[in-house]
Amino acid sequence: MRRHRRGIAAGMFIGLVWTIAKVVVPILIQRSIDDGIRGDDSLLGWAFAIAAVGVVSGIATGARRYVAFQNARAVEADFRDQVFTHAQRLHFGFHDRHQTGQLMSRGNTDLQQFQNFITMLPITFANLLTVVLASIVLFARDWQLALAALAGLPLANYFGRKFSQNLHPALTAIQEESAQLASVVEETVAGVRVVKGFGAEQLRFDALAVEADDVRDASLRAARARANFIPALEVVPNIGLIAVLAFGGHKVLDGDLEVGELVLFNIYVVLLIQPLRMLGMIVANFQRATAAGARIAALLDTPIEITSPSSPTPLPQGGDDDSRSIGRIRFKDVDFAYDPTNPVLDGFDLAIEAGESVAIVGATGSGKSTVARLLPRFYDVDAGSILVDGVDVAEADLEELRRAIGLVFEETFLFAASIRDNISFGVPGADLATVERAARLAGAAEFIEQLADGYDTVIGERGFSLSGGQRQRLAIARAIATDPRVLVLDDATSAVDPTKEHEIRDALQEVMHRRTTIVIAHRPATIALADRVVLVDGGRVAAQGTHDELLASSELYREVLAHDDTELPSEDGAP
C-alpha cells in the first residue's frame, strides 16, 4: 500500500482543482445573469470566464479519473500477485480444505471490491470538499435560503447509505447464486458421459432450475432495492429546489434576492446531490471493502505450514552417475491422519536402499498414495520421521527435496500447453533431446511422433484430447525428465493397456536402473518390476519380501491380488 501513497496524494490534489472549478461555475453563471443580462456588465467577459473555468474543470475531470484508476488498478494488480504467489506456496492440507472456486474469488471478486473502494478515494475527498465549499458559498449569500435549500439534502446521504446497504447483500447473493449456477453447468458438461450414460438429464435440469430460480430471486431483491431508493434519491434535490422556488421566489419578489442568485441556488442543489449520494455510498462501500480486505488478508496471513527450515541440511550428493549411491529412504514409525479422527498411517516403518525398487501393494484406501505424498513432504507426519539419504525431510530444503523426488500422481494433471512444455515442466528450458529421451523411456515417443504437430501439439482443457493411457505416459515422461534420485509411480499405468504395458515396462527398467523407485500397483506384471514388495494394511507394513515369497507366505497378499490359481482357466500345457 505504502508505495501507492504518492499517487493517492496526486489524485487528491487534482480533486481539489476539479472541485474548485465545479463550485466556481455556478457563481459565474449567477454573476452573468445578474450583472451581465440584467445589469450592464460585458456579457462576453463573463461567458469567457465560464468557458475558461470549464476547460480547467474538464481537464481536471480526465486527470482525476486517470490518476484514481491508475492507483486502484496498480494496488489491485499488486495484491493479485501476492494472492497467487501465496496460494501457490500453501501446503496441500490447505488446498484439500479450500475449493479452487473459493480461492479464485479471493483473487477476483474480493479484489475488485477493494479496487472499487480505492478508486473512489480521491473523488470522495473532492466530494467532501464540494459539499463544504458550496455550503459556505450558499450560507454566505443568504443563510435562511441556504438552510431551506440544504435542509433536505442530508436525506440524499442517508438514502445513499441505505441504498448501498440494501443493494449490496443482494448483489453478493446474485454473485453467489450465479457461481452456483455456473458450477452446475460446468459439472454437467464435464460429466456429460455419466449424465447420458445414466439418463440423469432430469436430475441435472432440476439442479439448474433451482439455481435459475435463486438467481432470479436475488436479482429481484436487487431490483427492489433499486426501485425503493433510486427514485427516492431523485426526489431529494427536488425538495431543495421547491424550497428555493417557494421561499427564494418570494424573497426576490420582496426585493431581498436577485434572480441570478435563485439560479445559483438551484444549480448548487443539483450539483450537491451527486456528491452527497456518493458519500453515503462510500460508507457502505468502505464496510464492504473492509470485509473483502479481511478475507484477502486472512488468506495472505495463513501461515504456510510446510516451509524450508531456516538452515536446511543439504542432501548428500552421490558420486558420478555410474556409481549412484544416493536415494536411500527410511520411514521411521510414521503416524499420519488427514483428520485426527481417522488415522491413515499408524506406525508405518520401511527402509529402502539406494537404487532399490520397491512395490507398494495394498487394498483400496489402505494408504498407499498417502505414503507417496508424505515422501516429498506434501504433508508433515504426525509422529515418526522420514529420511532421504539420512536427512529428515523436515530438515531439507523443500525445493531440493522435491527436485530429488519425482512423483507421478495417480490423477493425471496436464497443463494447457504443448506436449514439449508439459514434459519439460520440471526442467524449464530443457532441450528437445532431453524431452525426446524422457518420452521414449515413458513409452510415449511413438504416439507423440504420430501426431501431426509432434512435440508441439498443444493439449487442450485438462489434456482431454488424449486417451487416459496416453496422458499417463506423458506424466511419467514429465517425472523422468527431471532425473530424480527417487522415482515414485502411483498407479501410473492403470489406464495403459496390458499389450502396451510391457513396452513401458521394458523402458522403465532402463529408468529404474540404479535409481530408487517406488511403484504403487495392482498388476502382478508391474509389481514384478520391483526387487521387493511391501504390503500395506491397517496403516503399517503388514509383510514384505519378493512377490513369490509373499504369495507363499501371506494370506492377505493373496487376497489383495486375488491370486487364486484354481480360478485361472488353464492354458494348454501351462500350470
Binding site: 451581465g36 465560464i50 468557458a51 484439500d96 445414466f198 435440469f205 433510486i230 427536488n238 496390458p498
Partner: protein, 595 residues
C-alpha cells in the same frame, strides 16, 4: 461516476442487419407471455422522461413570474412542480419494478430453455465444442443480458428519450438559441464515434486480459499439487505476474480512452452554457427572450450532455447483448443429432441386442468401426477385449446410443434404437463409463445420479450389494461424506466404487461396464465382481476389460482390433482357434506369473 459500464463486441460477433432482425423477432416471440407488463413498464418510463424535462421549464416559468412580479403564477407553478415530483417518484418506481420483473422472468426462462436444450444435445456436439465455450453460453452470455435487464435498458430508454425531449423543448423555447447551441454537436459526434470504437477495442482487450488472467489463476490453483511437486512455484508466480501485468496495461488503456473523452464532453457542456449565456443574454437584453427562458436553457443544457456520454457507452453494451442473444439462439437451433423419433417405442424388459453391419466414424470422419455384426442373447455376458484404440468403448457407446452408427443399425428386442424413446432407452441400457465423474456433493448424492428418486435405503442396499458398504460407513461422515472437487477426498479406488454403486442401484436390461474396475486392487475387484455376479445374473452384460481373467469368465468374448470384430466365441473356442485372443491371453498369463 467511478465505475462506468464497460461493454463491447468482437467484429466477428457484431450483428448485421438480418441477424439483428432475427434476434429481435425471436426475442419478441419469447417475450410474448410478458408483453403486457413490458410494454406498460416502457410506457411509464416514457411518461416519466417527458415529465422530467418539464421540470426545468417550470423553473424557467417561475423565474419569469418572479421577474414580472406575479405571485399568483409563481404559487401555481410551485404546486404543479410538487405534483410532478410526486407522480414521477411513483412512475419511476413502477417502471423499475415492471422492467425487472419481466426481464428476470425472461432470463430465468432463457436459462432453463438453453440448459434443457443443452441436455438434449448429443455426444457429437460435446466432442466438437470446447467445454469452456459451452459453459460460457450459460454464464457470460446470459450475464451480459442480465446487465441490460438490470439497468442498461432503463438507462438506454431514459437517456435516449431525455436527449430527444430536451432537444425538442429547447427548440420550442427558442429555436434561434437552440441552433447556436448546436455548434458543439459536430465535435461531440466525432468524439463519441471515436470513443465508442476505442472503448469497444479497449473493452475487448480488457475482457481477453481478464480471461487469460482467470484461466492462469484457475490452472495455477487446480494444478497446485503438480506445481509444488516440481518445485515450480517461483516460475509460475513469474508467469502469473506477466498476465496480471498485461491486464493492468489493458485496464490503463481503457482508462486512457475515457480520460480524453470525458473532458471533451465536460468542456462542451460548460462551453455551450457560456455560449447560451452570451447569446441568450444578448437576446434577453434585446427583449427577444424572457430571462426565464435563458435560465431554463441553462438548466436544460446540464441535462443534455450527460445522456450523450452515457448513450455512447450503453450503445456498446446493447450491441454486445445482441451478440450474446444471437449466440444463444444459435445454440437453441443446434440440431439434436441423436434425436428421438416422432413416434417413440417404449423399451421394456430384458433383451436381445443385435448389432448388424455397423460402421462408425467420429466427427473427424476417420472410420473407427467397420462391419461389426454381433448378437448378444438375453442374459448373456459378453467381454470385449483388444488393444488400446481398437474401438471397444466406441462400440459400447453405440449400444447405449450415445452416438448413432454411420452405417448399419443396432436393435434392442427387435426395436431399432433410433425408434426407441430416449427415456426408456436410458433406463434399459446403462453404461458405466471409463472415467466415472464425481459431482460436488456427498457420496450419497453421487450414487443418486443414477436414480433420482432412490431412497436412502436403496442407496445403502446398492453399496451392500457390491460388497463395499462397510468401507464407506467407515468414513468419518459415512455416506454423507463430502467427496470434494472431482472426488479428491476419496482414494482412487473409492471413487470407482461410487461409480460402480451407481450401476448397482438401477435395474437395466443391458449393463455396460467400460473398464469400471481398473483402479481397484484385484482383491476388491474380485469381491465387487463376485457381488456383481448376482447383479449380472440373467441380465445382458457387456464388460470391457484389460484383465483377461475377467474376460475369460464371460460367456463369450469378442476381440476388437482395428475397428473390426476379429474373433468371437467362448474362451475355450478362441483358445482352440489359436488366433488373436490366444496370443493376447498367453502374453497376459505370462505377465501374471512373472519370474
Amino acid at each position: 461516476m467511478a465505475g462506468w459500464m464497460a461493454a463491447g463486441v468482437d467484429a466477428d460477433d457484431r450483428l448485421d442487419f438480418d441477424a439483428a432482425r432475427h434476434v429481435l423477432r425471436s426475442t419478441a416471440r419469447r417475450m410474448r407471455p410478458y408483453r403486457g407488463t413490458a410494454v406498460g413498464a416502457v410506457a411509464l418510463l416514457m411518461i416519466w422522461t417527458a415529465l422530467l424535462v418539464v421540470l426545468p421549464v417550470l423553473f424557467g416559468r417561475a423565474v419569469d413570474a418572479i421577474d414580472s412580479g406575479n405571485r399568483e403564477v409563481l404559487n401555481r407553478t410551485i404546486v404543479v412542480y410538487i405534483a410532478i415530483t410526486v407522480v414521477n417518484y411513483f412512475l419511476w418506481r413502477a417502471a423499475i419494478i415492471g422492467i425487472s420483473r419481466t426481464g428476470e422472468a425472461f432470463l430465468r426462462d432463457l436459462r432453463r430453455t438453453v440448459f434443457s436444450h443443452l441436455l438434449r444435445l448429443s455426444m457429437p456436439y460435446f466432442d466438437r465444442e470446447k467445454a469452456g465455450v459451452i459453459v460460457s453460453r450459460m454464464t457470460s452470455d446470459i450475464d451480459s443480458l442480465a446487465e441490460v435487464v438490470q439497468f442498461g435498458l432503463q438507462m438506454f430508454v431514459a437517456n435516449a428519450l431525455l436527449l430527444g425531449a430536451v432537444a425538442v423543448v429547447l427548440a420550442v423555447l427558442s429555436w434561434q438559441l437552440f441552433v447556436v447551441c448546436l455548434v458543439s454537436i459536430p465535435l461531440i459526434y466525432v468524439a463519441s464515434r471515436k470513443f465508442r470504437r476505442d472503448a469497444n477495442a479497449a473493452y475487448l482487450q480488457v475482457r481477453d486480459g481478464i480471461g487469460s488472467m482467470l484461466s492462469r489463476l484457475q490452472e495455477g490453483l487446480a494444478g497446485v499439487r503438480v506445481i509444488q511437486a516440481y518445485a515450480r512455484t517461483d516460475i509460475e508466480a513469474e508467469r502469473f505476474h506477466d498476465v496480471n501485468h498485461d491486464l493492468f496495461q489493458s485496464h490503463m488503456k481503457s482508462t486512457r480512452v475515457a480520460a480524453w473523452y470525458l473532458p471533451i464532453i465536460d468542456m462542451s457542456g460548460v462551453g455551450t452554457t457560456a455560449l447560451a449565456i452570451a447569446v441568450g443574454g444578448w437576446m434577453a437584453r434585446d427583449g427577444q427572450l424572457s430571462i426565464g427562458t435563458v435560465v431554463a436553457f441553462i438548466l436544460l443544457l446540464q441535462n443534455l450532455f450527460e445522456p450523450v456520454q452515457q448513450l455512447s457507452q450503453l450503445f456498446n453494451m446493447i450491441q454486445s447483448a445482441g451478440a450474446s442473444l444471437h449466440k444463444l439462439y444459435e445454440l437453441l437451433e443446434e440440431p439434436v443429432e441423436v434425436a428421438e423419433s416422432s413416434e417413440p417405442v417404449v423399451l421394456s424388459g430384458r433383451g436381445v441386442v443385435e448389432v448388424s453391419g455397423v460402421g462408425f466414424a467420429y466427427n473427424d470422419g476417420v472410420s473407427v468401426l467397420a462391419d461389426v455384426d454381433l448378437c448378444i442373447a438375453e442374459g448373456e455376458r459378453l467381454a470385449l477385449v483388444g488393444p488400446t484404440g481398437a474401438g471397444k468403448s466406441t462400440l459400447a457407446k453405440l449400444i447405449a446410443r450415445l452416438y448413432d452408427p454411420t452405417e448399419g443399425n443396432i436393435s434392442y428386442n427387435g426395436t431399432d434404437l433410433r425408434d426407441a424413446s430416449l427415456e426408456s432407452l436410458r433406463k434399459r441400457v446403462v453404461a458405466v463409463p471409463q472415467e466415472g465423474h464425481l459431482f460436488d456433493g456427498t457420496v450419497r448424492d453421487n450414487i443418486r445420479v443414477a436414480k433420482a428418486d432412490a431412497t436412502d435405503d436403496e442407496i445403502v442396499a446398492a453399496l451392500k450389494r457390491i460388497g463395499v458398504l462397510e468401507r464407506f460407513e467407515g468414513l468419518p461422515d459415512g455416506i454423507e461424506t463430502e467427496v470434494r472437487e472431482r472426488g479428491s477426498r476419496l482414494s482412487a479406488g473409492e471413487r470407482q466404487l461410487v461409480s460402480l454403486a451407481r450401476a448397482a442401484i438401477v435395474d437395466p436390461g443391458v449393463l455396460i461396464l467400460d473398464e469400471a474396475t481398473s483402479s481397484l486392487d484385484p482383491g476388491t475387484e474380485s469381491i465387487v465382481e463376485g457381488a456383481m455376479e448376482a447383479l449380472m445374473a440373467n441380465r445382458t452384460t457387456i464388460v470391457i476389460a484389460h484383465r483377461l481373467t475377467t474376460a475369460s469368465r464371460c460367456d463369450r468374448i469378442g476381440v476388437v482390433d482395428g475397428g473390426r470384430l476379429v474373433e468371437l466365441g467362448s474362451h475355450e473356442e478362441l483358445m482352440n482357434l489359436d488366433g488373436a485372443y490366444a496370443s493376447l491371453f498367453s502374453t497376459w498369463i505370462g505377465a501374471q506369473n512373472p519370474t
